[in-house]
Symmetry: C2
Subunit: 244 residues, 2 copies
DNA sequence: CGGACAATTGATCTACCTCAAAATTGGTGG
DNA sequence: CCACCAATTTTGAGGTAGATCAATTGTCCG
């Protein structure tokens, strides 16, 4: 399976040009590919994983379940992401990672990632950088939950998920996949399903977006961005990503 | 200034035992020490820092200002923290770092941190790990903002800040410094000052805490923890920290 | 074609907000 | 050491975004 790790390579190369040995070393990583059904947990709170998971296809999310049984989602992940890279140095999982839809993932043993990092410090830097962007997204998420009302919170997330997909070539014009139900959206934004629905209708009513059959289309990018107070700086998407 | 970097050393050694060369290399880092008045920005959004900042004494916080002028704080930092370590690989600041009270910080050039990381991969891991914990705290913060009401959100933060201080020996019994005004607390938790005040009174009324003259005392740890749904796992504090 | 899930709508309730003022507290200069 | 100012904390009184509960109406898939 020579091209299995292509999504990872593409992501790393959107930030920096890799040397041939670096590319080769990445492609030589031992992986276990696995298909997951929708709504299936990949890693759970309190687990002590010995491998991390690269998304090849599909959508994953990370979340916690509270004592009360409510769920809080704090990230969505698509091809090229390694959502639980943090388990490389934080042995004990403090949250869950699960699939939102049917997905394909590749498991990479921690040992081989560590070996890679020691041998190629620059790759270590790129992986590290990736976890830093993860944190930057969390920060922006906090800002939204603390200070934005429901419609802007939703608008902001739509902008983010659209750009994330576009950066890896998964958008078509101003459209992209959006396999997230309103209930899931509520769990991510700290809103009730009902209120998500109403806010979404407002955005549609104002002609900013279209959202049907799990496809999002942004009709008025500038206005949607304005509504969400969205400034893409925090995603740290490099010009390289666009150039490619 | 042989002991300037002691807080950093103490923090790293709470996770792993360092070799003599590693200790020496850290202590040999070139630093610029600076005193800051309260409410002073150290790094601002859009800056491109060439150094990171180690807290030696005092309290810092990271925050963003929205278009509307409101502020959202997403972290507090005390001695031993390097709040803007992420600028090592994310060149452009996407938020601000400022002092909450009079503080002492040490600036360390990125170049020398990078050199240290390449030479001692294990130190790189420890720094990396630290930024991962940063992210873990953000995740928990999101859970609180999305799913906890005001009193538990506050209770949770009190637990966190108490433990953070205790882990580096800054607590006395169940008491610790708490130089955070109710307005600042509101900016951190996405609440109005008025509501922070009322929730705080409730916690006091129920005899869980005492908070006066900028000193927090936790009277009923178990109940406060219960109120906040606080599980310290996400802080990833190692047994070593307690042993020391 | 039925069953399960997802979206939509209606009605009521409440946690938290805003505005406004009063009471404390802490720091500072005389 | 006291008086005074500014920043905090506290209290009161509405107002509202968003929650909850409960149906109803799609929509997709086997």
């Amino acid at each position: 399976m020579p091209q299995t790790l292509a999504p990872l390579l593409r992501k790393l190369e959107s930030v920096a040009v890799l040397s041939e040995p670096e590319r080769a070393a990445i492609l030589a990583l031992p992986v276990t590919v696995r298909q997951m059904r929708a709504d299936h947990d990949i890693v759970r709170e309190r687990d002590r994983p010995t491998q991390s998971c690269l998304v090849l296809d599909g959508w994953l999310c990370r979340y916690k379940i509270l004592e009360t049984g409510t769920r809080q989602i704090f990230s969505f992940h698509i091809a090229g992401d390694v959502p639980d890279l943090q388990s490389l140095f934080l042995n004990l999982m403090d949250h869950n990672l699960g699939s939102l839809v049917q997905s394909t993932v590749a498991f990479i043993p921690h040992d081989s990632i560590r070996a890679l990092a020691v041998k190629f410090p620059r790759l270590a830097e790129l992986f590290w950088r990736d976890t830093l962007i993860d944190a930057a997204i969390f920060r922006e998420w906090i800002v939204g939950m603390g200070r934005r009302d429901a419609p802007s919170r939703i608008a902001h997330l739509l902008c983010e998920l659209y750009l994330k997909q576009r950066a890896i070539g998964l958008a078509r014009g101003y459209s992209c996949d959006f396999p997230i139900t309103q209930a899931v959206l509520g769990d991510a934004l700290g809103l009730s399903t009902v209120h998500v629905n109403r806010s979404l209708m407002e955005l549609r009513g104002r002609g900013l977006i279209t959202l049907e059959k799990h496809v999002l289309t942004i009709l008025k990018w500038d206005e949607l961005q304005g509504e969400g107070g969205f400034d893409p700086t925090y995603l740290h998407i490099e010009p390289l990503a666009v150039a490619a």
